[in-house]
Symmetry: C3
Subunit: 473 residues, 3 copies
Amino acid sequence: MRQLTLDDDRIFPIDPPARAVARQIFAEIRNLPLISMHGHVEAAVLANDEPFADPARLLVVPDHYVTRMLGSQGVSLESLGVGRRDGLPVETDPRAIWRAFCAGWRYFRGTPSRLWLTQQLSEIFGITVEPSLDSADKLYEDIDAKLREPAFRPRALFDRFGLEILATTDSPLSDLAAHRAIVASDWDGVVVPTFRPDALVHINHSGWKDAVARLAAVSGVETGDYDGFLAALRQRRAFFVQNGARATDHGHATADSTPLDRADADRIYRSALNGSVSVVDATAFASNMLFEMARMSADDGLVMQIHPGVLRGHDSRVDATFGPDVGFDIPLPVDFVRGLRPLLQAFGRDPHFHCVVFTIDETTYSRELAPLAGVYPAMRLGVPWWFLDAPHAMLRFREAVTETAGFYNTAGFVDDTRAFTSIPARHDVARRVDAAYLANQVTGGVLGLDEAIETAIDLTVRLPREAYPPLKS
Amino acid sequence: MRQLTLDDDRIFPIDPPARAVARQIFAEIRNLPLISMHGHVEAAVLANDEPFADPARLLVVPDHYVTRMLGSQGVSLESLGVGRRDGLPVETDPRAIWRAFCAGWRYFRGTPSRLWLTQQLSEIFGITVEPSLDSADKLYEDIDAKLREPAFRPRALFDRFGLEILATTDSPLSDLAAHRAIVASDWDGVVVPTFRPDALVHINHSGWKDAVARLAAVSGVETGDYDGFLAALRQRRAFFVQNGARATDHGHATADSTPLDRADADRIYRSALNGSVSVVDATAFASNMLFEMARMSADDGLVMQIHPGVLRGHDSRVDATFGPDVGFDIPLPVDFVRGLRPLLQAFGRDPHFHCVVFTIDETTYSRELAPLAGVYPAMRLGVPWWFLDAPHAMLRFREAVTETAGFYNTAGFVDDTRAFTSIPARHDVARRVDAAYLANQVTGGVLGLDEAIETAIDLTVRLPREAYPPLKS
Amino acid sequence: MRQLTLDDDRIFPIDPPARAVARQIFAEIRNLPLISMHGHVEAAVLANDEPFADPARLLVVPDHYVTRMLGSQGVSLESLGVGRRDGLPVETDPRAIWRAFCAGWRYFRGTPSRLWLTQQLSEIFGITVEPSLDSADKLYEDIDAKLREPAFRPRALFDRFGLEILATTDSPLSDLAAHRAIVASDWDGVVVPTFRPDALVHINHSGWKDAVARLAAVSGVETGDYDGFLAALRQRRAFFVQNGARATDHGHATADSTPLDRADADRIYRSALNGSVSVVDATAFASNMLFEMARMSADDGLVMQIHPGVLRGHDSRVDATFGPDVGFDIPLPVDFVRGLRPLLQAFGRDPHFHCVVFTIDETTYSRELAPLAGVYPAMRLGVPWWFLDAPHAMLRFREAVTETAGFYNTAGFVDDTRAFTSIPARHDVARRVDAAYLANQVTGGVLGLDEAIETAIDLTVRLPREAYPPLKS
């Protein structure tokens, strides 16, 4: 059995002078609060504060970074406990799932999952041997025992992690009961909702008509025409603001934000309600809604998070069998320059509007995103996201973006995860990368150490706080 | 107040052995003459040789790298003294503008503007404290006092900078009076014009018909039909050659160079003269003109500089208010492979034709530009340009291009600036990056030190001299 | 005359701690067997085992990496001995060709050709001075003398190189006589064919009808309709399998793999046979054939190698004069996500199907290829290929791909060359780059040394053996 080690200098530059500077910078930001504004943890986890089920259901089953990698090596999703829509049986023994994970440990070499998992195992659970078939059962028992302790329940971990704020991602249809329960509780952790209207703006997706009907019900606003639809969305946004929301979140296939005139939008909306909308019209409607959401953000102050360019469910049979979010979402090229032009022309210099733009198409960093963020005051760049939430990718982001947009047109690090216990490790990796990048600038003679430390603190806490300010409701 | 420092090892590799080699290489090229073949300084500045107005109008107002960054942080262009087309008032107090700039100094961290400005302040003006609100007035006075001295007038600086040659960018309609005045003067600085016909080949741009009429007037050639138009352009090119021009310069939205047959070109040309040309026809005409300009270059020897792929005036309201060149030009993806194919098939192996191709779409470096420059003798790659004129971007260029095209299919460093006093700093940065890249090759065991030094000298002076040779007029 | 040196630490990291680790890792893989599964050496070279003709015809004339670089600097292909299709004379004196090559030695600085050539000259031929005009004749004589020795004949070199297996690239029409002769000989080198059907699936290429007629003749299967065509291809694949083939190889302009229904395919096939097929239909047919070849691979087990995205013969006059493979093939952007979707949806999770995907469009590494290979078990990523078979490009590949797909969804290093004596140098460079990458991971604290060594061995021999397993025939 190999020892599980966590090098305290990991990710830092290799040469001794830069490494020493990186240590100095990192020491100043290592223990700053975590600001988690773009996450996918369920608020109910913190509202209920129940113990996590077991190691497999905490660390393996819900993490598609993990299941996709094992799947790519021929391990079936069923054997990893990923549920099937048709109800056919999947593995339910958490020890068997955990063993499959441990047996595949070497597949994660060189990936951020390896970094996050190692840090979780080591720092949270005190594990000292590497996952392997030999160590699997012992690890399972050690972690499982911890999960039974009060110190490992969600709220205790939230406090231990130093989370200043955790944003969840929520349907406009949600009553935000879990969020309200947290506020009403005696626990003082800050958990805020995020308004994600995707299911309502993609009008040719299955279930859209039901969603619109439910929108009318929860908002108390008739949604029989386009004006009603917008009014209902406005009502929900106001409800989210009342409940602490700071941002909206938008996943589209493209970045197109061309507005429709009201008559066209209404016509398309009504035809979708009647069940007959063309792909062209549905796409135009979604683009129009990106524009409309920007207009509403300029009114109500919710920060607009935009992350286009994903082909969801690349293998449609997997989609049909297992549903979304099992690793088959694949990036697409994005045209931000022409796509966001209508939105930015209308709101990009409006002091009441703020957007944060994410991508998984790196080719846009220096060509599109940095030039746009470096000139429009309303736009900030989100950190590398999803597949790019990894050390080399983060360095490439800093190198490609900073020379054109500087540090101060970015939103600082905010993680993007549904894996609650991985949050500290994700921030740790990002802080190390920033420390490494800044140390190279200092050792390379282009930035003073005091400036570098100030910049590191800005990236860690000041910029995300500024990018996602609290709103008066 | 922080001290303003200029590390003499800046941009060099961090590890001591490579840094020592970089120092050796840099020492051999540091003081070589500056060859500035792709600039945007006005010849009148050197013809008139009047003192620069003040620090703000020298270093802030005309530099869109600077105004766009401050603008992205919410500083209005008006408050930076950028003139409005509608004549509404903008800030005219240079001290106020200078203060706004100094207050935003930290926004430039990590950008090349910071490097260029620091070097200008330090080496040209002897400034020793960093710009900040506290230091702004003192800096202003120190620089302003210098600007009153004879040693800080344009020609004195030109000589001090070691400029071997400075190329300007000029309209084919220009009488090149400033260039002729310089030649006629007793000053021996070499300032040559560059033929930039963009305003004449984009036949659907406003003002085109006026431009064509003026072309007829200055050339003495009728421009009522396409043949006349070409003949008039030929006349102007000959005039430019007589006045020392070595190159032409072409900014197009795409790289398409498909020629039209003469009848189609004539038909489109005439319809544009009559005021009714479709976007499709205008685009085809512009592509055709890229081909025609190549044909003329193969005749008269002017080196053709091509830099496609920019969406000018991304925010059309900014464009309407402030005009062009205020930072809202954003790169677009470019297809060089199919775009330049007609041009390269016709002239790419013609020993009388030479082109230098620039891009701000890095994705084309290893996929398109290096493979093309690595096989067509007529084509050389220009250095990273505009947003990519920065240390990390330059390193990416060398790393992506050299393995396929070598060093000797590039044109060496020629800056691209309208900021006269930044020219030495821009060459300094480029030389440091080349020294760093070559030092890594030497220390990495793949190039001898003597070869590296020879290559560095070639990149600095031999290749640009070869790429832009003087023509017999 | 400069000495020719071969630094034993070349390509390793520069800083001493990482370099020491790279040396340790490299020592474990340096002498492992070479697995060459994607090459273009002719089997006849090893079947006949005749001495190589002379230095020029071994190292210059057939290597388009070399001739294109010299050509880009104005050296004519004729003067390098590249044959013309029209029979007009080209240089035939190998000493003159060799001199032209030596005179251009500096053009190769910074390129992988320089690394490969230096290692061949030094390690295989014992050369100690750099090529130059002064050294050219001496070098020629030294190498030419060696080529007369038995130890420098192809089989002797094959054994000396430690080649475990060499795959060639072969037409489905081939009788594989050379391969069979090698098997029948007393030499035990393993040389296997690879099935490359490109000339048969691009139905609008000149010569296609002849090829189909010959396909019928060699297969004994009527090819008058689409079913017969498929059956004939199946027959040839079986013949290749019988003769040791392990893989197929597919070069397409795009990655599109959309299947046609049988009736459409048959209609298009017949119209092509009748000599009238549209570009649209021909393109659709080629895409369909990619799908069909995948289906056959799922049946017979041949590993499918896909490398789309090349515009062949960019300068059509060069193509007409010199034919293909003289350096004018230029990469194109590729859409793997939508292109391979039909193929991957159908076979990407089929345990009997295996594909290896190559690209020269780096922009797809992190956006498309790593996400796809990181989820579909049937897909592995081939190493950087062609223009990207170079140290910096390989590092970029590892950095862009590993964080998403890990090491174990790649196929390890398999070279791609028609230059037989360059094979060891190409593997050497790849092993050094992998050692460097892994050493940086170890020194960077994210991988243990023992794991890094295990991974290096996997990349060098285990993964290519796994990716190209022998088939039972």
